[in-house]
Amino acid sequence: MKNPSVLGTILLAGLFAGLLAPALAAQDSGVTLIENATILTVTKGTIENGSILIRNGKIAQVGKNIKAPEGATVIDAKGMYVTAGIIDCHSHIAVEGNVNEGSVAVSSMVGVGDVINPDDIDIYRDLAGGVTTANVLHGSANPIGGLNQVIKLRWGKDAEELKFEGAPPGIKFALGENPKRNNFNPPPGIPRRYPESRMGVMDVIRQAFVDAREYKKSWDEYNKRVAAGDKAAIPPRRDLKLEPLVEVLEGKRYVHSHCYRADEILQLMRLAEEFGFRIRTLQHVLEGYRVADEIAAHGAGGSTFSDWWAYKMEAYEAIPYNAAMMTRRGVIVSVNSDSAEEARHLNQEAAKTMKYGGMTEDEALRMVTINPAIQLGIDKRVGSIEPGKDADLVIYNHHPLSVYAVAQKVFIDGHIYFDREKDLAMREAQAAERKALLEKAKKAAEAEKKAGEKPGADRKPDSEKKPDGAAPPQGKDEKPKEPPKPPQQVAVAGFLD
């Protein structure tokens, strides 16, 4: 330590470490302690003045009087509430292009996992509302739709890094008005797509599973021939449409089915039973309250809206008591969003089940945490505050079931992905950056113009004479990302999704 320059370097390094501590420590040491909070564990009751120790992205310890290990980042959450990150069991955020492959009645060959757009601002908006996990589903234009993708809202990461590693794969089904497309008309000259009735919807699904069984059989036969040493066997064609359906038949892929009316709910469950599989979740399931016993007996979960109704005929008998009523009859129920906006206040939507049907606080909270986790088969990882689980947490300034609760910090895997203070602080910097970029572009354009304007100078490049646009990103043209939003537009999501 006699060398002064070495000493200086070390001192400097120390200084930097000190300056950057809040930002880096959580990342570096991987240890964070949240203390003095009211902890709503969801599954293990409420802890007043409690602490949560996060280590390497997991919840290491929950309880009172946990001492901060050396090097840990300590967050004083006095007066705050901490609960498990919200899980949205029905989302369409982060999808590039059309969320529906609506051209065909069975679109199981497509998957939203192929088109996750990590730059979708809705990821951040929902994250800011406390959502940490979302079940991103294909739309509801088809009796059998595309494959879903469960994601964590790790804003800033790339598409593959958003994917919830190990989440069981699933597929979207849809019943009723959307797949029969009564509320849509193709342009003149384009034929309507089969089916246009609930009979047809069931027919399409049944036929698809018959096809899937045949497909499976053809592969079984081929494999048998090969095993027997038959070198002349031609392999069947691999069919991306039928492969996921075979997985459904084998119980390896969850079915998340959009549905409204009690009759169609029952029909789908019976059809599934006929083919020997179970519907994992009934999505929307607005008339689930009428067949709650049957749903419970089948073993499906119900993922419903808080209080949506009357936006279309099949929603006319929807009631906000639905979630509570299904719960009372033994169905695992979640409250979902189906909308990037609604997702931002799922905690509020869950709270409504206390008013409509008398759920307790814990029951209400379960609807947006552990219950959707169970439905998605990820409850070992997320959905409650328990040691060993992923540190996906939300710090609120009020009880999360209060309308006044505002998420202050949102953790995923122990990292802070949303911080309200930072968000507020960032706004000016963003405005400044915008201004600087516009200024720079303006100057460059002026310089270019000047060069082209000198008499006798080089001819103006053609590009300046012809109207040509900046290249829009590929594929963006497919999704009506920004439909004009008339105030009445809120319910449109229910038609598309």
Binding site: N98, I121, D122, R125, A128, E177, N183, N185, P187, D293, D307, W308, W309, A310, Y311, K312, M313, A315, Y316, E317, I319, P320, Y321, M325, A340, E341, E342, R344, H345, Q348, K352, M354, K355, Y356, H398, L401, S402, V403, Y404, A405, V406, D423, Q430, R434, P467, D477, E478, P480, K481, E482, P483, P484, K485, P486, P487, Q488, Q489, V490, A491, F495
Partner: protein
């Protein structure tokens, strides 16, 4: 109480009111709509008196009364206060443990005009054609709509039912959509429900958009700025021309002889607007469109209210200078601009309040009208005071629409629209236990409760 049988339309006219002195007289004239309706629908029974006893009363017109009584008769509050005497003949609600608030007022929606959004046969909220000032929402309000009991059970006692621009699956193209009406959410007929037949002329301000969503092909259409501007300018010009035409007509009616003009319902309906008696409720979201509308109304010398007003903070100085109020669309909505703060619509009511711009919150919806208190609650969560949160869905809409002598607070002489809750009415878990609309106890029962009860009993 009086028994004047003047037509409601005439009574509604502020010009008539202006000429009258004395509060009692004014009040007596404001009642007839209801009185008339009652006279027609009921036998000549004497007015019954109702009273609420021992509630915690938030009047929004003064300090909270920790424990007080409210007495109502003839649809109006006749006494309110800690010591308000309850007449012996009153039908009394013992409200110990309950909290009384003014019923909530949804300043723009389509209650009664639409039953099931996707079923065109049940939708009466928009018409064909560009200019339809002669239409009045009241002529299509369906008093038996299931939305009415569902909505009032959430504490909303009166609404502005307004023609809408159409939107998903229909309509579109309309500019002057028709007249909005104020109704109580109780009554056997619209005549019983009506508070004011015509409260604003709804104008769907032309869009200035280079991008539009085409519902027929489910795709976004792009066009150049020049093209968009041309179309926008053309539409504004057409609107200007229509106003000019109406002015000529007004002159003919007022100064000419009846033989010399043919009665034109469209132009006739514009006269109260041109006279400044009926405000324009201009639906506009973006700054440029709001500015355009302000400029237009300035030139036309007509009163203006901004409806929806997503970007009203961007034109706050202008709105402030012109004293133009804003009826804001839902706080629960998303910005089209990804760089907008994530909490833009949550903070918007508070931002306007701080800026000194008059505002109210409205649902602009049908089935989500019952989220009105949640919308206000979210504004409170992000900076609006709790009292302003309550007023944003009661007193403020009443003031903006010139109905604050009748609605918006709990005060003697006002229409007795009262809710009794078991807690903070902006909170999600709070229930509306009792309702008084137009001075009468009104059921909180509705289709949803009924289905709940019916299916809860399924063996």
């Amino acid at each position: 109480m009086n028994n004047t049988h003047e037509s409601p339309r005439k009574v509604c006219c502020p010009a008539v009111l202006k000429g009258l002195a004395g509060l009692t007289l004014v009040l007596s004239l404001l009642v007839p709509a209801r009185a008339l309706a009652q006279a027609m629908s009921k036998s000549q029974q004497p007015e019954k008196t109702y009273a609420i006893r021992g509630a915690k009363i938030t009047t929004l017109a003064g300090p909270v009364i920790e424990k007080g009584n409210i007495v109502m008769r003839g649809g109006r509050i006749v006494a309110i206060g800690a010591d308000a005497a309850i007449p012996a003949d009153a039908e009394v609600l013992d409200a110990a443990g309950l909290e009384a608030y003014p019923g909530f007022f949804d300043a723009v929606d389509q209650i009664g005009l639409q039953e099931v959004g996707a079923v065109a046969a049940t939708v009466d909220s928009h018409e064909l054609g560009q200019f339809n000032p002669q239409l009045n929402a009241l002529t299509a309000v369906h008093p038996a709509s299931e939305h009415i009991p569902v909505t009032r059970a959430a504490g909303i006692t009166e609404v502005v039912s307004a023609p809408s621009p159409g939107g998903f699956g229909g309509g579109g193209g309309g500019v002057i959509l028709g007249q909005a009406t104020v109704i109580n959410l109780a009554g056997w007929t619209v005549e019983e429900m009506m508070v004011r037949r015509s409260v604003a002329m709804v104008v769907n301000w032309p869009d200035f958009n280079t991008r539009s969503f085409d519902f027929s092909t489910f795709s976004v259409k792009e066009r150049s700025f020049t093209e968009a501007k041309k179309e926008y300018d053309k539409k504004v010009q057409e609107l200007t021309d229509f106003f000019e035409e109406a002015r000529h007509y007004q002159q003919a009616v007022e100064k000419g002889s009846a033989q010399n003009y043919i009665r034109d319902l469209k132009l006739e309906a514009m006269i109260p607007v041109l006279k400044g008696e009926l405000p324009l409720l201009v639906l506009a979201d973006r700054a440029r469109e709001i500015r355009g509308a302000v400029e237009f109304c300035d030139k036309q010398k007509v009163r203006m209210i901004v409806g929806s007003g997503a970007d009203s903070m961007k034109v706050a100085d202008l709105l402030k200078a012109k004293n133009i109020p804003v009826i804001l669309g839902p706080t629960l909505r998303l910005s089209n601009d990804e760089d907008d703060p994530y909490d833009k619509f949550f903070t918007l009511p508070g931002d306007l309040q701080k800026k000194g711009i008059r505002f109210a919150l409205a649902s602009f919806d049908v089935e989500f009208v019952r989220r009105l208190s949640q919308q206000a609650g979210n504004a409170v969560a992000y900076g609006l005071s709790h009292e302003d949160g309550l007023k944003a869905i009661s007193l403020y809409p009443a003031q903006i629409l010139g109905l604050d002598k009748d609605l918006g607070t709990l005060e003697t002489g006002k229409i007795a629209n009262i809710i009794l809750t078991n807690g903070d009415p902006l909170e999600l878990r709070t229930e509306v236990k009792n309702l008084y609309i137009n001075g009468r106890p009104t059921s909180t029962d509705n289709k949803h409760k009924q289905l709940f009860e019916k299916y809860s009993k399924r063996p």
